[in-house]
Amino acid sequence: MMPSWSLIAVWLPLLVVAAVQTLKMAAFSYVLGVIAGLVIAIGQMSEHRLLSKACRVYIEFIRATPILTQLFLIYFVLPSVGLALPEFTAAVIALGLHYAAYMAETYRSGIAGVPVGQREAAQAIGMTRTETLPYIVLPQSIRIILPPMVNSAISLLKDTSVASLIAAPELMLRANDLTSEYYMPMPLYIIAGIFYFMMAYPLSLWARHLERFARRGYASAHSVSR
């Protein structure tokens, strides 16, 4: 069942193009997720009872339902209220809005993860609550949220595969096409797997590195004798 090298030579360029489409989809979705997540996180912290409730409901809904269902809702159900989106766009929006909810939670834990003593110390030297954010709180939350943000990027990259089920252009769809043409699912899906691995593994290494980096800098909270 091993494919000949000439066959692989035919497949590879097509798969590479598809992998690039996967990366494009992931990149657009990620940007959407980061920005929308910020909006939702801020909305959740607002004093407007209705707004913060709505944001909370959104997050819970996203987390309780599969990405596939959300994708189908956007691609198949929206047209009946007049919004028919092409596959790639629908996928980007579904993935983006899905990960926005997770980003919002990440941002929230980032802010909450800064010890309360930090804000108190900043206020004790005369900073207003607003001033504590850019100088003291946010810089420290960045260290906390980076690892989960990279892990989300990895998950997002993998979830682009789900878009193949609405025939959006990406790697799995191309693998499916080639399988129906050549009927060799094993090598084809394994090669697809290798492509995903090559895209995701560097991110995974970076996440590990960031996790180590995130642990630095909190020794000041504990008494240390050196």
Partner: protein, 200 residues
């Protein structure tokens, strides 16, 4: 079907996860390497691809699996890789002093593990485990996508087959909501219950 696949995969994942965590923390570099490779590979490749390899790929070289066993293998292997880190963290988080204290009152290492370390580790991994269970429940939605089609992979056919009246998807969303929310509530109450003994 969703429930069987989820529950079964959950069990398989836990077993594999514990074994893999054990390898990861072992003194043998070979075992550690195997665990690392297992985790990194299965976490870098989408679950959909893994399912396709197991169901269609193996099928084409003669190992024909029924949809449910295929899903169990696929989700189980994938889940085990994801849980490795959870278990590793749980065991590592238990202060060495606990084991030392247990040994100093005369327990042997196995007893120490069973009565002192694992109960505390369990409390630590519980939230991650319940999150994992909820994620698994959602991922099984992909199993139906794989099991339904026959061997024709024509993209259009795939779309046509899954295109049904829009209401179905709303119902589907509500179905998952109905299953996930109680699970989350159960998770929170379990967490609170097992954390009770821990507050100083």
């Amino acid at each position: 079907m969703t429930v069987i696949v989820t529950a079964g995969s959950f069990v398989v994942s836990i077993v594999l996860g514990i074994i893999s965590a054990g390898c990861a923390t072992s003194r043998s570099p070979v075992l550690r390497a195997i665990s690392y490779a297992y985790v990194e590979v299965f976490r870098a490749v989408p679950i959909l691809t893994q399912l396709f390899i197991i169901y269609f790929g193996l099928g084409s070289i003669g190992i024909k699996l029924n949809p449910i066993p295929a899903a169990l293998v696929g989700f189980g292997l994938n889940g085990g890789a994801n849980l490795t880190e959870v278990f590793r963290g749980g065991i590592g988080a238990i202060d060495h002093g606990q084991t030392e204290a247990a040994l100093s009152i005369g327990m042997n290492p196995l007893m120490a593990l069973r009565y002192i370390v694992l109960p505390q580790a369990f409390r630590i991994v519980l939230p991650s485990l319940t999150n994992f269970a909820i994620g698994l429940l959602k991922d099984t939605s992909l199993a139906s996508a794989v099991a339904a089609p026959e061997l024709s992979f024509d993209a259009n056919t795939l779309v046509e087959r899954t295109f049904q009246s829009p209401e179905i998807y709303i119902l589907l969303a509500l179905f998952y909501l109905a299953m996930s929310l109680p699970l989350s509530a159960l998770a929170t109450s379990l967490e609170r219950r097992s954390a009770r003994g821990h507050r100083a």
